[in-house]
Symmetry: C2
Subunit: 136 residues, 2 copies
């Protein structure tokens, strides 16, 4: 396994894709820069057809990510006992899904936010770069 200059194991893209698809609970964090200052917010997500997908309410802080050219998404798992863990980072563009056919398709997926609110808007992060690291 390759390691980076900090001694962390570098995950292959295939491994990152596997973790993005299979890891539960499906809670990650998004970061974007709405006003020059980055924010990080937890989000219920699905990784579907190469994109991170999440739901939001119009006008919410989360919804602002749908208009951001540069969005980051991260998911990780941490084992405090062994002091191990991994994280996967997806970088890409945020965009609200508006195509009716695609929306119908997404609405059929098991993507149900824990937070209250209708969250009828679907936001996609089209990944341009996927990377991951593991401490072991």
């Amino acid at each position: 396994m390759a390691t980076d200059r900090n001694g962390l194991t570098v995950l292959t893209v295939d491994e990152c894709l596997r973790l993005l698809t299979s890891h539960v609970p499906r809670v990650g964090r998004i970061a974007f820069v709405p006003d020059g200052r980055p924010v990080i917010l937890p989000v219920n997500y699905l990784f579907h057809e190469g994109s991170v997908v999440f739901r939001s309410d119009p006008g919410s802080k989360m919804a602002a990510a749908s208009a951001c050219e540069h969005v980051a998404f991260e998911v990780d798992a941490i084992d405090p006992t062994w002091e191990e863990g991994w994280s996967v980072l997806v970088q890409g563009r945020g965009e609200q899904v508006t195509d009716p056919e695609e929306l119908e398709h997404l609405e059929a997926l098991p993507l149900r936010p824990w937070a209250p609110g209708a969250k009828a808007a679907y936001v996609r992060i089209s990944s341009t770069q996927i990377s991951g690291r593991r401490i072991e």
Copy 2:
């Protein structure tokens, strides 16, 4: 308890400070924007005297946060069974601690990164804004 427009409970600053100080494991995530595109990285941290403190190796991706005017730090806890959780967001400026007296003080703290490497550099995020939300 106050709720925001998305129905999430708004944590008071006191509650955020309590969670930042007491939550274990002491693993959070930092976001910064090294080249116009945000990144999110997990990090072992301490919250000490009003600042998030973490260690890094010179030249590492993490070390880049020490030169960022705008850095975000997030810590959360998630309960998949009850679909509840909270998150606290710290926004501030990243800076490497260079004062010898302060460094000596920080080196005595129980801040030990899980990742390999000496991680002799101490980075502080001086918080300018602290906010938090809870889903319950």
